[in-house]
């Protein structure tokens, strides 16, 4: 008795065999990939004359065009890719002023050496240069004289700033010692006479303030003016306030001397001399405001929350 055998078409068997084989090959390929030992590619990028090219950009791409790694040549033109799986890659090398070059490489487990020579870029397609941008010579030309002038200006203004800060100390102290340096009267009677020690201290502090102030002003006034500069911003307020505290400093001294003469001759301070104190206060306020103005905008960071 003949047994009935189910008929399987040959094409179905072929498809099945191919499927199993292709799957097996994929598994084998994946296993082979897992087993690859990383290799490396390194070398030097040079120009046509053999001179090293620094900062050339190198890109390592796989067969599918995907970027695997990037590198940049150093000052000696040297570069390197390490930890690269075995296989076929392209190394694209580019540098400003040179034509791009792509080299096909096969990476193995051993260290691969690849020196690349770049040809100068075709004159028909030059990289843009500063001359192409349309700046005037005046804008692009180096001016060492101006640099020297700026340097002198900065040094003088730095001294101006430091002396200005130092001047604040005797100025404020003069203001505070002013009260103890004058005669006090009540109902026509002298309740406190001229105290020589207080007066001397007030005078000495005033003189120190005047001398320091004058020197501070000298460094600002004599600092070179940079031609073609139109002042704007907080510096304008700083300078405008000098027209208040400058005459104020002179007036304070003159009025102080007048007040001293009047008190010394037993008179009550009168007339314009009585403005000595108020003028000194206004002068000090204007001076302080000018320091704040030149430092503007001030942001006290410790008041803010850290982000």
């Amino acid at each position: 008795m003949r047994r009935k055998v189910a008929f399987i078409p040959f094409s179905t068997i072929l498809v099945f065999v191919l499927f199993v084989l292709s799957d097996a090959s994929m598994i084998m390929r994946a296993a082979a990939q897992d087993a690859t030992v990383p290799g490396s590619v390194s070398g030097t990028v040079v120009d046509a004359s053999g001179k090293p090219i620094a900062h050339a950009a190198l890109a390592l791409t796989d067969a599918a065009g995907g970027q695997v790694a990037k590198a940049e040549s150093d000052a000696a033109g040297k570069y390197g890719f390490s930890g690269v799986n075995e296989g076929e890659y392209n190394v694209t090398v580019s540098a400003a002023g040179f034509a791009v070059k792509t080299v096909h490489v096969i990476v193995t487990a051993s260290q691969g050496l690849l020196d690349v020579s770049l040809a100068a870029r075709s004159p028909a397609n030059p990289a843009p240069s500063l001359n192409d941008l349309g700046f005037s010579t005046q804008q692009t030309e180096s001016d060492p004289k101006l640099q020297a002038m700026l340097h002198r200006r900065t040094e003088m203004l730095r001294t101006h700033q430091r002396l200005g800060l130092i001047t604040t100390i005797p100025m404020v102290a003069t203001l505070f010692t002013g009260g103890g340096a004058k005669v006090e009267r009540e109902g026509g009677q002298t309740t406190r006479g001229l105290n020589d020690a207080n007066l001397d201290l007030h005078l000495a502090l005033g003189a120190a303030t005047g001398a320091l102030y004058g020197t501070t002003a000298y460094f600002a006034i004599r600092a070179p003016h940079v031609p073609g500069t139109h002042k704007h911003g907080a510096i304008r307020l700083h300078e405008a306030l000098a027209f208040v505290h400058g005459p104020g400093m002179l007036a304070t001294g003159v009025l102080g001397y007048m007040a001293y003469k009047q008190e010394n001759s037993g008179e009550k301070v009168h007339g314009i001399a009585s403005a000595h104190g108020p003028v000194a206060v206004v002068t000090t306020i204007a001076y302080g405001a000018s320091m704040v103005a030149v430092s503007w905008p001030i942001r006290v960071k410790f008041w803010e929350k850290k982000q």
């Binding site: 900062h55 950009a57 890109a59 990037k70 940049e72 694209t92 580019s94 540098a95 400003a96 034509a99 791009v100 397609n125 030059p126 990289a127 843009p128 240069s129 500063l130 192409d132 941008l133 349309g134 700046f135 804008q139 692009t140 030309e141 180096s142 001016d143 060492p144 101006l146 640099q147 002038m149 700026l150 340097h151 200006r153 900065t154 203004l157 940079v226 500069t229 139109h230 002042k231 704007h232 911003g233 907080a234 510096i235 700083h238 030149v294 430092s295 503007w296 905008p297 001030i298 942001r299 006290v300 960071k301 410790f302």
Partner: protein, 179 residues
């Protein structure tokens, strides 16, 4: 069948289109450096940059330059001091050169290696990311160059004896037009 073939050809031609030769002109720009001090936070802004770019054989070269003295922090005195500190009279231009694959021009982000000449020094910044927006011939590029004073051997200016931070990041906003 013919339509399908055309579609396949169009898709295949896309990378080639992206890498075609092109010329670019900087139409508008805002470059601003940020200076940080415990008592100051300042930005110096310049709108005077000019730039040009060329793409050839899949690679682009771009050049952007601005006069150092064009940066305005809102105060003449400070700007003149910055000009002195950065040796801006001897080296009056800040020049940025970049080189990148043309394919990046059609992507949302452009990763570029920059060569910056400033204050008589040259610094290189790798893989600086810029955002690219815009369509057609107009492209807007924004990003920040992580510059520092020490990159250019600039003595950090001081205020009340305290120096500014070493980091002076330069924010870049540019509108480029393909010629």
């Amino acid at each position: 069948m013919r339509i399908a073939l055309l579609l396949i050809l169009s898709v295949a031609a896309l990378p080639a289109f992206a890498q075609s030769d092109s010329q670019w002109q900087l139409e508008q720009s805002t470059l601003s450096y940020h200076m940080s001090h415990p008592m100051h936070e300042l930005d110096g802004v310049s709108h005077a940059a000019k730039g040009k770019g060329t793409c050839h054989e899949g690679q682009c070269d771009f050049l952007i330059a601005a006069p150092v003295k064009s940066f305005d922090s809102g105060d003449t005195n400070r700007d003149l001091h910055m000009l002195e500190t950065t040796r801006g009279a001897r080296f009056p231009m800040v020049v940025v050169r970049t080189h990148f694959p043309a394919s990046e021009l059609s992507q949302g982000t452009v990763n570029a290696d920059l060569e910056v000449q400033f204050a008589g020094q040259t610094a290189h910044y790798q893989n600086v990311t810029f955002q690219r927006t815009g369509q057609g011939k107009d492209v807007r590029i924004t990003g920040t160059v992580p510059a520092t004073c020490s990159d250019f051997k600039i003595d950090r200016p001081t205020f009340l004896m305290v120096p500014i931070k070493n980091e002076i990041p330069v924010k870049v906003e540019m509108r480029w037009r393909e010629q």
